[in-house]
Amino acid sequence: MSMSLSPQQSSVRSTSLEESLTPVLRVRDLSCFYGRTKALEAVSMEIYEGKVTAIIGPSGCGKSTFLKTLNRIGEMESNLRIQGKIELFGKDIYDRKVNLNLVRRLVGMIFQQPNPFAMSIFDNVVYGVRAFSRPRESELNRIVETSLKSAALWDEVKDNLDGSGLDLSGGQQQRLCIARALAVSPKVLLMDEPCSALDPIATMKIESLIRELQKKLTIVIVTHNMQQAARVSDYTAFFSADENRIGQLVEFDQTAQMFMEASQQNTRDYVAGRFG
């Protein structure tokens, strides 16, 4: 194990700032396993309310795995298993008695590939709402309008709400997925490389949207693109895999700090584009 990557050496500073930070999610000593293969080791960090936290790192460093533990979607996709603790507003989301549907409603997710349902735009947006309540038609209309406006898609689709969600362009589909996630009023929005399948203009729209959404909720974004992390995030976590391919959190700090003068050589090399 390289010294700079060992958890003891990694610098996860508790930032002393004038503003008080409330952690929405608190990850404590998290390790992840796919079957018997360890993918992530001893990650401890906090996601602060109303902030955008970017997770960066080279391929295979476990950043996506980490993200998918935060709303427990990873275990649905594969045989992912965790050790350690993840608390949402102080409550353990891996508790046996937890209401999984509620966890996933509070912690929404945007996937790498836009994945709208084969339904109308309207039905896409209200899908999650209808899963746990039976609002009146007028209420649904209101939710659709505010969600689509928040996702900066309303003007493009307001005359075609009955059209299929699949007929939209890739960027519009991704914004539809964001609107769909916002419709259930999540507290946290997880974004797993949300722009990797989009062109630069669509990417720009999503990025400015992230800045806008930050006023209402907490965002965690996994990205391959360091410029994107620098542009949209307040905090950055740098993950890297050691020689046994086990991912670790190397450094976590304010984004400006990370990109200007990271404490770890490894982080400095990565943000300078020297590897990964």
């Binding site: 709303n71 979607i73 649905m76 996709e77 549907n101 509620l102 996933r104 409603r105 929404g108 997710m109 996937f111 590939q113 994945n115 709208p116 349902f117 084969a118 339904m119 899908y127 999650g128 899963a131 746990f132 299929s164 699949l166 997925c177 769909r180 996630a181 259930v184």
Partner: protein, 288 residues
């Protein structure tokens, strides 16, 4: 790069042409039985296909120059296929949903999958004898219901195996999207997975129906045959396939002719169902 336009050497061109010719003629050869069958059924059946066959009962053996038909057999086949579908479609689709969405790779699901594939390989005559044993004997009589039950056993594995394949084709990203919005497994399955797989499930159902409509062996022991109108679901019933079976090797030429006409109708029904399933899936895919 003038070589780009150089013709291939002669031996290669001859080899290419020969292989193409062989492949083409083998493909044509494989289609010969299908068209030969259709041709003989249509040429021998069409002359005897009158409006009467749909409205009249079969004439008593040996009677000439009286109206002759198999309306009761058409009704019997439709009714028994309907009964078979009524039993096998819900059961088979629910089984498939369990296997694909809930059971997945658990030992129980794997055993079930294996048993269903054994059932799909069960000879249809055995299915007929089984239905005879569990329905006809206890109820002390041949019946259209017993025939429908036997057909449902033929259809069940076809429906459940093909539906499971259809459900597996639904991209997992759709399930994840649904779960990430806080929807439970039941809602994800009914609103997203089933909705997406619906055209393929419909195709599956239609193919199973087409298969059941042509089955003869399960009906010989269960619905038997009847020269008369269907009186009750619990009474014996005529069917197109058993009518063909009985009348094709009858010594009376009228009955042989009627069997040919029935063959045209039966093949026509099966062909129509197959075409319908193709049409349905095309339409739906375009709608997406």
């Amino acid at each position: 790069m003038s070589q780009l336009f150089d013709p291939l050497p002669l031996p290669k061109r001859i080899f290419n042409a020969a292989l193409s010719a062989i492949a083409f003629s083998l493909a044509a050869l494989a289609l010969v039985p299908l068209f030969a069958m259709l041709w003989s059924i249509f040429t021998k059946g069409m002359p005897h296909l009158t409006g009467d066959v749909f409205t009249q009962l079969p004439a008593p053996a040996g009677m000439k120059d009286i109206v002759n038909g198999f309306a009761n057999a058409v009704i019997g086949t439709l009714l028994m296929v309907a009964i078979g579908s009524g039993i096998s479609l819900p059961l088979g689709i629910l089984t498939a949903i369990f296997l694909s969405e809930f059971g997945k790779k658990t030992a129980f699901a794997e055993v079930m999958r294996f048993l269903i594939s054994i059932l799909s390989a069960a000879p249809s005559i055995v299915v007929g004898v089984f239905a005879y044993g569990v329905i006809v004997l206890p109820l002390k009589g041949f019946s259209a219901f017993a025939g429908g039950f036997a057909l449902s056993i033929i259809m069940l594995p076809i429906v459940s195996l093909a539906t499971e394949e259809a459900l597996k084709l639904v991209p997992n990203s759709q399930r994840l999207a649904s779960a990430a919005l806080g929807a439970g497994l039941a809602r994800t399955t009914s609103r997203v997975v089933l909705a997406r797989a619906f055209p393929s499930i419909l195709t599956t159902a239609l193919l199973a129906i087409a298969r059941a409509a042509g089955e003869t062996a399960p009906l010989i022991f269960t619905a038997l045959f009847s020269q008369n109108w269907l009186e009750s679901v619990m009474g014996p019933s005529a069917s197109l396939s058993v009518l063909i079976f009985n009348y094709a090797n009858s010594p009376f030429i009228e009955q042989n002719n009627l069997a040919w006409a029935a063959a045209v109708i039966l093949v026509g029904m099966v062909l129509f169902t197959n075409l319908l399933s193709r049409f349905v899936i095309r339409k739906r895919l375009q709608a997406w």
